[in-house]
């Protein structure tokens, strides 16, 4: 009977808060977390398998601005992060393991975002 939880509540008053002040302190995602992923164009061969296998049809193949020797069709995958469900199906099916995986999750934005810029930065100079 009575206030069973009172001692627990009182002891918590003197403990450190279990929440964090998020924008000031970084929120912790484990390195196993499935975060933002993009294609590394120094490896991508433009086979389009990721675009075919994407469950949410978030990947479209766009044409490359430069000619690359290992990419005969000159196309690369662009992930629409608004549509992506981060299941990493594309990472699994890639025959040349061209996807760069990160645990970065703070990609909410007021503008539509895609992986185009990140991928184009990986073009070998």
């Amino acid at each position: 009977m009575g206030l069973k939880l009172l001692t627990e509540v009182l002891s918590n008053v003197f403990k450190r808060a279990s929440t964090i002040e998020y924008p000031k302190q970084p929120s912790l995602a484990l390195k196993e977390h499935r975060g933002q992923q993009y294609a590394d164009l120094s490896k991508c061969v433009g086979c389009s398998l990721c675009a075919v296998e994407c469950p949410s049809n978030a990947i479209t193949m766009a044409s490359l601005p430069v000619k690359l020797k290992h990419n005969p069709r000159s196309i690369y995958p662009v992930i629409d992060y608004g549509k992506c469900i981060f299941c990493y199906r594309c990472v699994d099916v890639c025959p040349v393991k061209a996807y760069v995986i990160t645990n970065y999750f703070e990609i909410a934005s007021d503008r539509p975002g895609n992986s185009s810029e990140l991928s184009l930065n990986t073009i070998p100079k």
Binding site: G2, K4, N12, A29, E32, I85, C87
Partner: protein, 385 residues
């Protein structure tokens, strides 16, 4: 005195998902209740027919956020039965591990929500805090806190190493102590017992007659659990007890969940100790199936989940019918509300662990003449305008 009708929902402080309960009350006493669903319908079953077998694993995971791995388990289990695909024993154990982690966090969540519904917010906050390490374990094993996406046809996607095993055992030790403490609170605290004890009583015969499932059924003293009755994954090899409480009220339904959480922790310890070696997925991905039909059932945190999968050959399913546990518990659970007070309505609903997004179907029933009709897509679009 004339009856008054009070709408509880679809937007209501005590409900976390949209559902409408039309409560007919005589003063404080509930005389009748009508459940209206349809606010969350997304057409997932139809969408699955357009996609391929392997992509549908991700789609059916998303029917319900909390019980996503059990949905994936039921679907892959059915597809594997049609295709005659052997799942390696290590993958079976890992699947069981993830399903039990999910059961732990689902049960802690609904107990916390129950504490909030009865107005005990400090208990709610403490339970949600102590649920967080379990979510972290799920992220460690699968790659995400909630939507695990851990399944492929014929196996699982990630392996477990020794470091992760140690981490799981260490965290679960803390969780076990906390759950034992919360069980004591639920059994002894005045605020909880005052609101839950003897509220929404379902007799065992009624629970069976109205085909209630899961902890709701076991809370009425009926020993029924798919994990024990019809073992799937690795459940045939793992020892565990089926928890039952005989009172049939809201409190015994919550205590079933808390006891099951402790059972799940023991099961995870057994899995980690006896994890077999070997591959975790088939070398070649499965793309097409021959003609066939499968009926697959799994014990989700909320009860028995059923998939009926029909294949006509090729790479797409012909039909996938989903019967979720909440569908039975919410709709047929109306028997529990009779003679309750209006303030008890959210408590009784929460004691069923309602998952509204699982429940949605389009089936129009005319109350006056009792006729039913299923709407076509054309009717739906006309209706939506």
């Amino acid at each position: 005195m004339s009856l008054i009708e009070i709408p509880v929902g679809p937007q209501h402080p005590a409900l976390h998902e949209p559902i409408l309960l039309r409560v007919r009350a005589d003063g404080e006493r509930v005389v009748g209740i009508q459940v209206v669903t349809g606010y969350n319908h997304r057409g997932v079953e139809k969408l699955g027919e357009r996609s391929t077998w392997s992509k549908d694993v991700f789609l059916y995971s998303r029917i319900c956020g909390i019980c996503n791995t059990v949905h994936a388990q039921t679907y892959t289990q059915g597809v594997e039965a049609i295709g005659g695909i052997e799942v390696p024993p290590r993958a079976q154990y890992l699947r069981t591990l993830v399903m039990e982690l999910e059961r732990i966090h689902s049960h802690i969540l609904i107990c916390a929500v129950m504490a909030e519904v009865v107005g005990f917010d400090s208990l709610f906050m403490l339970m949600m805090r102590d649920r967080e390490p379990v979510m972290m374990l799920k992220e460690l094993v699968t790659g995400n806190r909630v939507i695990a996406d851990y399944y492929v046809l014929g196996g699982v996607r990630r392996d477990l190493d020794e470091v992760k095993k140690d981490k799981i055992l260490k965290v679960l030790e803390g969780v076990e102590a906390r759950v034992k403490y919360y069980k004591k609170i639920f059994m002894e605290d005045y605020t909880i017992t005052k609101r839950l004890l003897g509220v929404g009583v379902i007799k065992p015969s009624e629970a069976v007659a109205y085909s209630l499932v899961g902890p709701t059924l076991r809370g009425s003293g009926v020993k029924s659990d798919v994990r024990a009755d019809d073992p799937y994954a690795a459940y045939g090899e793992i020892p565990f007890n089926v928890v039952t409480y005989s009172d049939g009220d809201s409190l015994s339904r919550m205590l079933v969940r808390l006891d099951e959480t402790l059972e799940s922790i023991e099961m995870i310890r057994y899995i980690i100790k006896h994890l077999p070696e070997g591959p975790i997925a088939p070398k070649t991905p499965i793309r097409t199936l021959h003609e066939g039909e499968a009926f697959s059932r799994v014990e989700a945190p909320r009860g028995e989940l059923i998939y009926h999968i029909v294949s006509k050959g090729g790479d797409k399913p012909y039909r996938v019918k989903v019967r979720t546990p909440s569908f039975n518990n919410i709709i047929n659970g109306v028997i529990a509300y009779r003679d309750a007070r209006i303030a008890d309505v959210p408590v009784i609903l929460t004691s069923f662990d309602p998952c509204i997004s699982c429940t949605e179907r389009i089936l129009v029933i005319d109350e006056r003449n009792g006729s039913t009709k299923v709407l076509s897509l054309k009717d739906l679009s006309r209706w939506g305008k």
